[in-house]
Every structure is written in structure tokens, then in C-alpha cells.
Symmetry: C2
Subunit: 228 residues, 2 copies
DNA sequence: CGCGTGCTTGATTGGTCTCAACCTTTGTGG
DNA sequence: CCACAAAGGTTGAGACCAATCAAGCACGCG
């Protein structure tokens, strides 16, 4: 029933593990555990101890900070081939975020102990980890800049302009409620802003599909706080 | 004229370099460069290439994101014995923050090349780096939580309660303008909030000295958004 | 078909910023 | 040592952005 999974090959193709020799890879794969997480279920909650890292084999995961009255602030999404939860292994602190499956997921879990062992044997792996964490630090600082220094419309524009886009046509990766949370907005504000840009003829919105008619016009609005 | 500095001993006492053997330490110390930075001068600007890391020998440094019209969002402070700028070495991107001396500083600079060399030779050093970056990630996420999920007064209270404090008496580490920026507030709002708590009898403020009369009362205000 | 979830729209509120003036402290040069 | 400037901090009035509250709409799924 369980689909056969070539774990060593799967891991070996990730940036994080690409530098590993076959032996270490095989050992890591063998000691890893497969975890199935149905849509909407939690991988871990805030406050859980962090005793390893996760790799997404199939599906997508949402990392967020829980807030009062069932609200949350979305931090990041992880898709196939991405690893998460590596950082908290290194400090003796429980997770301050929660991870929730956006779709039915198959994850691999590698224990802290196994990761540390590989670090000690393969410096290149340590570098991969460092590179990954540095990248995450960078995006987090961008998020802080966004939320501290830019207005709602500037945040939305920046977000749209940095989404994967083919000839002006893009698709929101998640539903608008979640996009709003990621941008630090209420769903109402997001809806109004999209309509504003739509009315101005800069974009067209149909469901999650957005067409950018003029990246320049968007960038212009990002630069100046905007009159009207 | 230049005061004699025992660089190997200085580095060896830092968490980051504590695990290094004498030889590596000596080599790193020897290849490091001393940098003097007068008060208010910049160590680096946003956009500068990141080609190494800094260690604070003497003085304090402020990391911030520059904004339009001379404003800035303060990210963090670094004092004697702390290292900064390690993260950006690992990704091929220029600094997105600027570093400015809060006081006359003496810094040590270690090149990216030298750091990578030590990583490859000493796994324990890689672990130290990972631990440090993980800790920074953690505090950055706390900052995001603060600024996205909590009100101005909640942020101030949290900040006060987490400052080093001896029997209710604490001192702001920097002037109020900078504290305000760190908290994502205007100086005006910070001033008003301090007065509010002062009027409520919870704290006393004299310059940078703050006396907390009741941590419990503060915590109570942090929990509930507050009526009046 | 009916219900729930996601999304939109309108009216209103309110927390925080902005602008402007003034006060206080610090530091500096005559 | 005083005078003055500059920086840091406070206070008030007002505006504004985005949140909240409250309905209502549209779509998809059982």
C-alpha cells in the first residue's frame, strides 16, 4: 500500500544533502523516518521540543506563529525537496512556530543526533546547513523590513512582483486568507487592495490567477507611498 | 600608541571560537585585521559585499535597516565579544543591513576564506557557527512575532521585562530614539507609553533609568490589550 | 439542494503616526 | 565659566491607515 520510496536518491538530490558521499547518504536515509501528515494536520506545535529536522518528500507545509483567538502569522511555505526545522535543533529551545500540512504530505524526519554526526564527518554538509540557514535569515530580515518599513500596498506589490510569473500571468500559491497573513494584512484589506489595483487597470484578478499588465506601474506604486 | 592586544586570547574566550585548537586559533588571530571605527561611523553599509565576519573587541555596534528620509529600523546590538556579519558570508548577496558604531570601537575582521578553511578542519567550529545563527534566527522570529502580532504597549512591556534588571532597576542600553526604532515605534509614541505606565504607578522613569515597581502589573498589561 | 468556506463590500473605529512647538540636557568654544 | 548650539526628549492637535464589525455573495462539495 505504501508507495515505494527511494529515500537515498530523494535526499541526494536536495541541495542540503548533495555534498554527502554515498555511504553517509545511505546511512542517513536508512535511519530517517517517513511521516505521513494529512491535509490540515500539524507536523508540530509551538512549544514542542525540536529533536530533528524534516524534509518534504511530497506536499506542502506552512510554518506560522500562532496568535490569540485562532489567528496566526504565516512565516513561510515549504514544498517538495525543502527542509525545515533545522535551526531549532541547535539551540535548546522548543519550537516557537507551528508547522501545518497544506496538503496531504509525506515527510522524512532525521534525528538531531544523526545530523550532528554527519556534520562532524563531512564539513561540506555543515556548509550546506550554514548556507541554508543564512538564506533563511536573509528572508526573515526582508520580512522584518517589509512589515516595519512598508505600507500594506507596498508589501502586496513586492509580493506580487516576486512571485513566479510567466509572461505576466501568475497564480497565488495559497488561498487569499493565507496570503493576507503572510503579508501581515487582514483578508479584507488584501481584497480591497487587489480591487484597487484592478480598478487602476494594473492587474486583473480571477480567483487565485493574477495577471500583471504593467510591472512598471506596480513598481512605481511600490516606490512612492501613493496618492490615491 | 596602539594598545597591545592579545588577539588569540581575545578570540579564544568567545563562544564562537572556544572550541578551536591553539594552532587554528593562532593562525586565525594572526590573519585577522584590527579595524578602528569611531563613534557614529559605519562599519559597512547596505549593499556592501560581505567578505568576512566581524568580532567586537571594544565598544558597541548597531545593526539596522536603512529606510527612506534618514530613518532606520534597528535590528540588533552587538557588544564586546560578539560576532556579527557571519550569515551573509554564506550567501552570495551584499549586506541588506548597515552596521554603525554606537561608541568608538575596535573590531577584528576575519575573511570569509579563513572562516571557511577552519570550518573544513574543525567540525566543532561549524557547530558553533550553526548554533549562533540558529539563535539569531530565533530572535528574529521573535521580532517578527512582536511587530506583527502585538501592540505598541505590548512590545514595550516585553522589551522592558527582558532587559537585564537588578532588583527592579534597569537602564536602557541606548537612547530612547534608538529604543523606539528597535521596537518599531516613533519616539513620540514611546515617550507617551512610558508616561502612561509611569502615571499608572507601575514604573518610574528618570532619563535612561527605569524602575519596575511591579513586574506582575506589567505582565498583566502585556496579556490583555488593555482598557485605558 | 443546502451548507460551509472563502471572499467581498460597506460603515465605523481606533491606534499610531505626523507635524509642530517647546522643553531639557549635553557638550563646546569663546 | 558662561553662552549658545545641537541633540535628545516631551507634549498637543489632528490626520490617516488599516483593523474591526457586520452583512452579503459565490462557489464547491457532500
Amino acid at each position: 500500500m505504501v508507495p515505494k520510496l527511494d529515500v537515498p536518491s530523494l535526499l541526494g538530490h536536495l541541495n542540503l544533502f548533495a555534498q554527502l558521499d554515498e555511504k553517509s547518504l545511505a546511512r542517513l536515509a536508512e535511519r530517517s523516518q517517513q511521516v505521513r501528515v494529512p491535509r490540515h494536520a500539524f507536523v508540530f506545535h509551538r512549544g514542542d521540543p525540536a529533536s530533528g529536522l524534516y524534509v518534504v518528500a511530497v506536499g506542502r507545509v506552512k510554518l506560522s506563529i500562532p496568535a490569540a483567538n485562532g489567528q496566526e502569522k504565516v512565516i513561510e511555505f515549504f514544498g517538495s525537496g525543502q527542509a525545515f526545522g533545522e535551526a531549532m535543533m541547535f539551540i535548546e529551545q522548543p519550537y516557537m512556530v507551528q508547522a501545518q500540512a497544506l496538503e496531504d504530505c509525506l515527510l522524512l524526519w532525521v534525528s538531531k543526533q544523526d545530523v550532528l554526526a554527519v556534520i562532524d564527518r563531512q564539513p561540506a554538509f555543515a556548509r550546506s546547513l550554514l548556507t541554508g540557514m543564512a538564506a533563511r535569515l536573509h528572508t526573515l530580515m526582508q520580512d522584518i523590513e517589509m512589515v516595519s518599513l512598508h505600507s500594506a500596498s507596498q508589501r502586496l506589490i513586492h509580493y506580487l512582483l516576486n512571485l513566479p510569473c510567466e509572461s505576466g500571468l501568475l497564480t497565488l500559491p495559497v488561498n487569499k486568507n493565507v496570503v493576507a497573513s503572510k503579508l501581515g494584512l487582514t483578508p479584507e484589506t488584501l481584497s480591497r487592495l487587489l480591487h484597487q489595483f484592478s480598478d487602476a487597470g494594473i492587474i486583473t484578478v480571477r480567483g487565485r490567477k493574477v495577471t500583471l499588465h504593467s510591472r512598471d506601474a506596480l513598481q512605481a506604486r511600490e516606490a512612492s507611498p501613493m496618492t490615491h
